[in-house]
Symmetry: D4
Subunit: 146 residues, 8 copies
């Protein structure tokens, strides 16, 4: 039984590569999918496809519609969602993806540092599992196959 895991969260470091590598090392039958992780590409995609827009609002709206399509397609194909929160940026997309997954009854793991316990408390409480590190998230995934 191979499972597909959507990796929601910040796109400013290579945490998804670490997750994938560690899953491979453990031999877990997992396929990982994710949002666009090239930040500039993610911001530019609207104008890259639809042409120049008349201002930031419209440029952002164009990009977001295409990012949302990608996320909707890949999350619907996923069996599990991992949402990683970090200490920088607004991370509202991470909160949005986690909430969407929970409302769709997708089993959802939140990864968040200790500093974020308080502002994330309601979302953590709704998630299936909350952990602090990527290694713990992988331990949870690994446990499914024991």
């Amino acid at each position: 039984m191979e499972l597909t895991v959507y990796l929601a969260g910040q796109i400013h470091d290579d945490w998804r590569e670490k997750v994938t590598q560690k899953a491979n090392e453990k031999g877990l039958p997992l396929q990982f999918v994710a949002p666009q992780t090239n930040h500039d590409r993610s911001d530019d995609i609207g104008e890259a496809i639809l042409g120049e827009q008349p201002g930031k609002l419209y440029r952002d709206d164009a990009a977001s519609s295409i990012n949302n399509l990608r996320t909707q397609v890949l999350m619907q194909k996923s069996d599990i969602v991992i949402a990683l929160f970090g200490e920088k940026y607004k991370q509202w997309n991470t909160a949005m993806d986690a909430s969407t997954a929970i409302t769709m009854n997708k089993p959802t793991i939140i990864v968040r540092p200790e500093e974020l316990i308080h502002p994330l408390k309601e979302l953590s409480n709704k998630a299936t599992v909350t952990v602090e590190t990527i290694d713990q998230a992988l331990d949870v995934l690994s446990y499914i196959f024991e």
Copy 2:
């Protein structure tokens, strides 16, 4: 036809009172519901009901389960959700409530200042309507009854 509107968002000023007052002035047949807006009460409610918890994580988890029950009950009774974003705080609960509402097919209005266009772009794109001010949100509600 009376409609029920859930007012998600920050609880640090009296914006909900303004919404309610303006809706009354317009004579709109609306009933407003909301999360606990007393911030200390919201943070304390876990220990207030369940007793002292062994640390911040557990105190927060206890409070959030009760806040989540309140939100789940009231959002399920609502016909429309308004989610207001401001410039301070993480506001992940606002993102969570808006995403939950959208995924439940609740008509959802996001209110956000111009400064937040970029970080909220994917969520705004998924919402039914995005506006910048409370007055605009009320104009949208009023339009339903024209």
Copy 3:
């Protein structure tokens, strides 16, 4: 048992008033709701609330988000949808509202003139009932209460 009926369709004549008046004459316990029937208001509503937009595309997108919120709210409150097609205009909103209602399992009556049998054949086949005139649609509504 009072029922709520959403009246989808063109907004270029007073057919909704006729439906309402005839239902009253028959003493049917029906409440009617509808999209914005003032065509200029419907087209202007985006800029009226959100301010001037940078071009027709953006003006139309702003208006449509607010029209869609109104339709979503009122259709979710409705027990039955009537969708009237006429001989002028594209009427894609009528097709959209009828299809949305059918997919939501709302009992749906299509009213269409004989000339439109062929282009509407697949949609008519999916609707619960297809009739040619408003009087026939009212006869169907009346039959529920016999």
Copy 4:
């Protein structure tokens, strides 16, 4: 991960072949499905299977039930729906298929020429993404696999 894409829209030129060919050139792992694209066959299929019907209404109703079954089967198997609008014909089936897909939470791309911005504004606003050309639609599909 192979995805299945339903191509809704007019059946009067070979746009689907172009989409398929371009997807192959890009090496995208996509399977395309579609309604019956032979227009005569689509109109005749009711009488071809069920025998002669007593008039146009009945001939059309017979054909449409079989076309609807085909669409229902193939759309339920699809991960994404592309709906292309052109400048000729009523195209109510295209609006119907797009609305059905959106209501079923299928990620949906509308392709429409600039001339149709206004009459399609509400449907475009509900779709996940709206573009103007087939090449842009393919760019959106391609973006999922970046």
Copy 5:
């Protein structure tokens, strides 16, 4: 708490009046709804509204679309469905209504005489409760309010 009960089943005697009268005698807060119980009216309703049809198949199809709309509206408003089977006629509408209700998760009571145990065994097994008489069905309804 008032409950609405849909009474599916044969329309060849006055069993629904008996149910209503007995419920009134017991003082149960129940509202009863039902299909058209005038058999001729039920068969004629298609042509009565839509005009003469070119043969029995088309006459029956026209009538059935209007009967189906009535049933869909009233069953969606109901909290409980009672389906009564008797010894005459095909009663496929009764089986259809009971199966529809069960699949919609409506609590469903089947009333059937002893002679029909065998041919109804799978449907009875899927229903919430199976009884043999109207009085027993009323006892079940009455039990909800004890």
Copy 6:
């Protein structure tokens, strides 16, 4: 794209073998599933597994629970349901299976002889397609792959 088809209906002749053979001759990528077609086995299965029951009612209830499990498993795996009605027996299971499939939004084909038009009119109207013969049903299936 291989599709799975559930064949509901009477189990007194070999119509399912004919369907399978004809589908093979046409080279259609279809997998067929069905209820238990050995009538004695179907009636005996409750006591065969659970032991002797204290009377016909209990014997039938035991058998039907196991038949219902089989049908529920196989229908949930199916993309299309064909329900064949014949001239003998009550055939309430056929009506039950067809209604269940329609309510689950499974594309459904009813096969019924001309004599049964009237008693099946409401169910036929709700089905996606109604035909008179197995060959016509196969033509409908074949049309999906044109």
Copy 7:
């Protein structure tokens, strides 16, 4: 806004009366519903309505179908479910009702004594809130209206 609360759990003392009385004292706009709390009546209801059954298994199955109908009707009408566990009896119905409510997305409060923390840990984790006493459950209900 009046809310309806289903009180699942043991029926061996008068805890429901206490809940109702305390809610009244607090002036909470709540309506309470519950399973049959007369234990003998609950066990006898099958034979009381359907007549003597051939053994305990059949007697219990008859009673349970009627108890299940009552629970299904009342739980579907409820906005919140409270499930109280005590120290005696198997209490599988309490676990069943709580799990059913959680899976239906009903906000669910579990009341359980400290001794039952371990055997109820998975169910408590899935519930919206877990408390130890009736007074705490009422505090949670009361918090919705603050």
Copy 8:
């Protein structure tokens, strides 16, 4: 057609191995999944991944969130659920898993000894099939493939 079967129930003997072995002997195309069957591992998993917790309640809550994720993932992938009850322990997880499966419309087989007929009567009545032994459950599974 291979089916996946979730085996819910006590983890104190090797009944799952027996089920698997017997299914293999019968040549049934079944894949079995299950909760963690190492009891200590199941109780320890929270602290094993998340670190020491401040007391039994928190230790149990941490473990249960991870056990619940595993069950949610595997049950959503399953076509059938078997829930085995024995004579020892509270077995509330078994009742929870069975109720969850039934509410999700998963075909569900309950295996319970004769002694448990009475306390399990409502849950048995809601399950698709109830049997007394593992061999009978396998006979039911085998019947699907006859």
